[in-house]
Symmetry: none
Subunit: 193 residues, 4 copies
Amino acid sequence: MTPGAERETTLRADAARNRARVLQVAREQLAAGDDSLMLNTIARLAGVGVGTVYRHFPNRHALLEALLAERFQQFVDEAQVAAADEDARAGLHRLLRFALEHALNDAGFAAVLGSASDADARTSAMKAELDRAVAELLDRARDAGVVRHDVEADDIRRLLCGVEHAIRSGDDDARHARLYLDVLLEGLRPPPR
Amino acid sequence: MTPGAERETTLRADAARNRARVLQVAREQLAAGDDSLMLNTIARLAGVGVGTVYRHFPNRHALLEALLAERFQQFVDEAQVAAADEDARAGLHRLLRFALEHALNDAGFAAVLGSASDADARTSAMKAELDRAVAELLDRARDAGVVRHDVEADDIRRLLCGVEHAIRSGDDDARHARLYLDVLLEGLRPPPR
Amino acid sequence: MTPGAERETTLRADAARNRARVLQVAREQLAAGDDSLMLNTIARLAGVGVGTVYRHFPNRHALLEALLAERFQQFVDEAQVAAADEDARAGLHRLLRFALEHALNDAGFAAVLGSASDADARTSAMKAELDRAVAELLDRARDAGVVRHDVEADDIRRLLCGVEHAIRSGDDDARHARLYLDVLLEGLRPPPR
Amino acid sequence: MTPGAERETTLRADAARNRARVLQVAREQLAAGDDSLMLNTIARLAGVGVGTVYRHFPNRHALLEALLAERFQQFVDEAQVAAADEDARAGLHRLLRFALEHALNDAGFAAVLGSASDADARTSAMKAELDRAVAELLDRARDAGVVRHDVEADDIRRLLCGVEHAIRSGDDDARHARLYLDVLLEGLRPPPR
DNA sequence: AATGAATGAGTCTTCATTCAT
DNA sequence: AATGAATGAAGACTCATTCAT
């Protein structure tokens, strides 16, 4: 029984259920475009008392962090796999498409991805892990001459958030998503001459 | 007697001065990064009563619209000049750099630029005017083979907002601004093959 | 028109009325033994909105201060007159009876009188003024040999609060008040031999 | 089988230990000047669940009563000894000094001593016992002409609380304690004619 | 008997908007 | 036309008490 995992494990069955419900409702609220995350409302929707929400998440931010930690780690794992692709350019492509999908599905995810400073050290750690994977991929891509020299992992993250933003602003159908991502990918090539 | 025109015409000198002050303060607030736009605060800073603010702008949104209308028209004018450039690609370049500067200086400007629906018909009209100019430029650029065929004026607007977003997320120094805009410009070229 | 008085004067008629109502209700609450001073409740009882209460008194403490300032100054004025009595012992007697009446009528008054540290400088100033008057009286009384040498103005204040406390604890009829005050006055005489 | 007795008797060893811990923590809290007595906090500090606290003490008041009962009985015992002093005035002196020490050490103690009505019959019984001892002492002192005729046991209790209050309001060093108690003792002598 | 998660009424505080002056 | 006091709905958070485990 890992000590870290234990915290989750020893949670009483009903407490765990409530915690999950709250996270679930919060996620739905965000997905529905309501980023106010009112703890009272969430409590009502989750069918628990306000106090229960506050017990699990002392403030709005803690809730957001929890929401993100879940998704982000999951994503970082996938990202690392994608980053190992033999073909660096293809790997980058896959990685970005990957991240974009996540960002489009989860507004909170995009928010973290694109913020300069993190409130929680765990978030920063995960972001660093992600940047490390991207940096490796970029290095290989640069060596292969398929990516311009003046962009770094950090820039990739920010540009991706920009694309996500562009897609969200207006009809965010698949065609636009594909087009905007493609523009980014083409723009990342070393400029002619 | 056009009602719209009358409002502007009959404005007493002091009323006009108050209106200008309110807009000025609101602009400063936004520039200072405070996008809450509390009308009470603005009134205090402008040295007028809240009631006065409400007389001129029935609600927060009206204030935002007014703020934008001012800037936007000014921008559209400049844009039309830029769009007339002989060299279509150079014109596009200038136009985007132009817009980007505005967007970085004025968060509200970027918000309008990137929103799918407008609250005020005048805004839509100006946006249409802008898109018309960009569309012409794009047509010429496409004919010259320097821009991919699958992007429209609307996409340009959205992508630009994306770039603005990327620049704002983190250190928004000149280097990043130039780099991200360049990535966009390169990405807009017709893809190889 | 004195500047100090003006603040009160320029208060709009209705604002002044509301402020007075709030103070009135707060005073009644305290008198009724409820020292929780819930601003919402006070607002309701005063027939004004919560916001109005908050406009006049940003927090509970400000309300208390206002409540006290009113009474205290009024009392200090009277005290100074009483302190000027030719017969020092009689003056002290009158002064204490005087203060006791106030303290019994207004719990807040007693609270300030008996607290070692004040939150508001004005309160400290008034207290100092009071102590000055008492000190003069004590000096004369000591010279006349009718008060023990080891008590100071500060002690008088504290002992009086003690008496007030004793009177409140139980039936606080006039007999008890007279008796306890008399015990104090006798106790203040120089001890035999 | 007396229900009251049973409760004490059948208390399991661990239950008794928990009860004692809770009382201990509550006492410490009060001593530390925190008279909010939050049962959740006490439970945490005592290392038991809230439920356990509630099992032993159905509400905050019951806890207070229990806290006091302990001390009070202990005090009454000592008081009865002190009251048996040959020299009535000396006995009174010792008794009051005695009570004062207790009251200064234990704010709850003073609260009970000075309250007109008790929540628990046991408290009233103990208070009656105390008053009986004091009354005897007073009778003897009056007969000896060393205490005024118009004070009763009840008054002694209340005046003592007054002194305690005075001592607490400000620097409560030994000098002040001695002085204020002395003022009371002198004040209790029969007034000169 | 013990635990501590859950509850939700209760309180504080802010701020967009109205309206008497 | 201007003022700013008043309003009160809305949101954040606490804590005494209950009850399933």
